[in-house]
Symmetry: C2
Subunit: 332 residues, 2 copies
C-alpha cells in the first residue's frame, strides 16, 4: 500500500477496496458492519429511534486529549445522550484530502474504533471520498448516529420554567483553548487537554433525577446554549460568574489572547436545566461521577426581558449576546 492517500483511493476500485479492508474494516469490525454492501440492516431494538448528524472539520486533526475521530464519536454520542437516548449505531463519511499520510488515517481510524467501543456504539456504514490536493483540510468527517430512547423520557425546552436552576457538569472552554494552543499560532504552550469525552453517564444521571432539558455546549460554548434557551423560552438566563467552573489555564490564555471562554467549545460537558428542588441531587450525582468533580450550579432561569446576563463577582451585570463573528474557525 502507498504511504499517502491518492485520488485512486476514492475511485471505487482496487485501492479504495484495499483501504476500506486494511484500515476501516479492521478498526471498526463489528457484527453489523458490512463493507461490501450498499446499505446495512440494523438489529431490532426497543424504544423510539432518535437520530443526529454532525460534520467535523477540526484543525489540527490530532490534538492533546483527542483527534478528529474520537471527537466525531463523542460528538454524536453526546448529541444523542443529551436527548435522553442510548447511542447505538454510527455511520461515517470520510472526505480525505489527497496526500494525507495513510499512517495518520490509520491512527484516526483506530481512535474511532476504540472510542466507539468504549461508548457502546457500532460503526455500521461508511463512505470514502478523496478530495484533490488543495481542496480539503487533510480530513473532514461527517457522522450520523442512531440511538433508542424509552417512551418515559421527557426532555425539551418547552419544559423549562422560571426559577429553574442551570448546572454544568465541568469546566468550560477546555476544548476550544486546547485547539487554540495546539495550533501553535501564538507561541504558547501548556498542559491543557481537550475535554472531548462521552457525557452519557452525566446524561443518564440527569434523566434519572428528572432533568427538564440538557444540551452539550460545543460550538459557541456555554454562552450560546444560554442564548438558545433564552431565545426559545423567551425567559431570562442569569449566569453567576463566581460559580462558573473555569480552569486557571483557560482563564489565563483567554485573557492573554482576548477570547471569552464562555463562547469557546466544550466537547465533554453537559448544561442542564432542572427544577430547583432537584438541583442539589443532580449536582451530587454529577460530582460523584468520574470527571464530575467540578460540576456546578451556575445560574437560574428568570422572568424579565429575554436575554443572557452574567452577574459578575463584583455585583455588576454583563449581557452575553448571541455570537456574531467566528472567534475560532475549524474548532470541531
Amino acid at each position: 500500500m502507498s504511504e499517502r492517500i491518492t485520488l485512486a483511493h476514492g475511485n471505487g476500485g482496487r485501492f479504495m477496496r484495499e483501504l476500506v479492508r486494511d484500515v476501516f474494516a479492521r478498526h471498526f469490525a463489528n457484527p453489523a458492519l458490512d463493507t461490501a454492501a450498499d446499505a446495512v440492516a440494523l438489529p431490532a431494538a426497543d424504544g423510539t429511534l432518535v437520530t443526529t448528524t454532525d460534520g467535523f472539520i477540526v484543525d489540527p486533526l490530532e490534538f492533546p486529549g483527542g483527534d478528529i475521530g474520537s471527537l466525531a464519536v463523542h460528538g454524536i454520542v453526546n448529541d444523542l445522550a443529551v436527548s435522553g437516548a442510548t447511542p447505538r449505531w454510527l455511520t461515517l463519511s470520510f472526505l480525505i484530502e489527497e496526500g494525507l499520510e495513510i499512517a495518520r488515517l490509520d491512527r484516526i481510524a483506530a481512535s474511532i474504533g476504540t472510542t466507539a467501543h468504549a461508548c457502546g456504539v457500532a460503526v455500521v456504514a461508511g463512505d470514502t471520498k478523496v478530495l484533490p490536493r488543495g481542496q480539503g483540510g487533510g480530513l473532514y468527517l461527517a457522522a450520523t448516529g442512531i440511538g433508542t430512547r424509552g417512551a418515559d423520557v421527557m426532555l425539551g425546552m418547552t419544559r423549562i420554567r422560571p426559577g429553574d436552576h442551570l448546572l454544568v457538569s465541568g469546566p468550560v472552554g477546555d476544548h476550544g483553548t486546547a485547539i487554540l494552543l495546539a495550533r501553535n499560532d501564538f507561541g504558547l504552550y501548556g498542559d491543557l487537554r481537550s475535554d472531548s469525552a462521552s457525557v452519557l453517564a452525566f446524561a443518564r444521571a440527569a434523566v434519572g433525577i428528572g432533568v427538564r432539558f440538557m444540551r452539550d455546549p460545543t460550538r459557541g460554548g456555554l454562552a450560546t446554549v444560554a442564548n438558545e434557551i433564552s431565545l426559545e423560552t423567551r425567559l431570562r438566563v442569569v449566569l453567576d460568574e463566581a460559580a462558573l467552573p473555569l480552569r486557571e489555564e483557560v482563564r489565563g490564555i483567554c485573557e492573554m489572547l482576548g477570547y471569552d471562554p464562555l463562547y469557546l467549545a466544550c466537547e465533554g460537558r453537559v448544561v442542564a436545566v432542572v427544577d430547583p428542588a432537584r438541583a442539589a441531587a443532580l449536582l451530587a450525582a454529577w460530582r460523584g461521577l468520574p470527571g464530575g468533580e467540578h460540576a456546578a450550579g451556575i445560574g437560574t432561569i428568570e422572568t424579565g426581558r429575554p436575554c443572557v446576563v452574567l452577574r459578575t463577582a463584583l455585583g455588576g451585570e454583563r449581557l452575553l449576546e448571541e455570537l456574531e463573528d467566528d472567534p475560532l474557525p475549524r474548532i470541531c
Copy 2:
C-alpha cells in the same frame, strides 16, 4: 442576510441560526424535522431498519440534469432501494466553503427539498460547518439514509449462481460524461444530461420478480460492479458489448477523450443479477417503466477463472480489470 457564506455562518451563533431558518428549514420542512434539537425522534415504522451513508464532492455543483443536492438525495435513495428497502429518512451534513453565494446554496437546498419530497423521504436532521476559503470545494455534502425493509426481501451476492443473467436498467456512463462536459475543460458541448434519478421503481420491480442481487453502478461504473460481483462470488462475469446500452454522445465523447464509458459513473441505473428463467420478465417490467426503455440484458455469470470479460462485437474478448487510477475525480 449577506450574499455570501462567511465563517460566522458556521459558528453556532446568530448567522448560523438565521441560515438554518431561512434556507434549510424553509426548504426541508416536514413534521419530523426539528432544527432546534440536538437529535430528533423518528416515527415508528414496520420492518427491518436499513442504513447507508455517502459523501458528495461533485464539481461543478450544478450540472445538466441535477446538482449536488439532488445527486445526494438520489444517491442515498438508490443505495437503500437496491438493498430492497423503502427510503424514509435522511440526514444531511453541509460543509460549506467561505465565500459560497447564498443564492446558490438556496437553489441547492430547494433542489434537495423537491427531490426528497418526490422520493418520499424526509430530511430529519442536518448540520452546517463552514470551511475557511481555500479549504473546500464550494460545498461538500454528506448524507445518511434510513429505510425499512420487509422480512421477506432476500438479496445478496451469496445468492448469485452460474448461469444467472445480468441486466442494466438504462444507458451507462451518462452521469460521468455529463460532468466531464459540464467542466468545460475540453471545449466540448452537448445536450447530454446526467441520469441522476431515483431507481426505486426499478428496484421494486426487481424485488417483485425475485432478483438475486442489485447494485447501482456509481463511482467506477458498470465495470466496477461487475468486478465486485466477480471478486465476491469467485465467478466469471461475461458482458456482451453489442448488448450494452450506450448513448451515441457518450460513446463519441469517450472515444475522443480516451475514457472507457464502462468505468464512468451512472446515478440513475440499476444492475441486477437474476435467475435466467426470470430475466425476460424483469426486462419487460423495466422497459415498461418511465426511463426504462433502454433496459437490456447485458451478460451472464459463468464458472471459470474469476474475472470480468467483455465479449466484443467481433467475437473477441477483452478483460475489464479492476480500476486502479482515477479517471475523473470529484464525479459524485
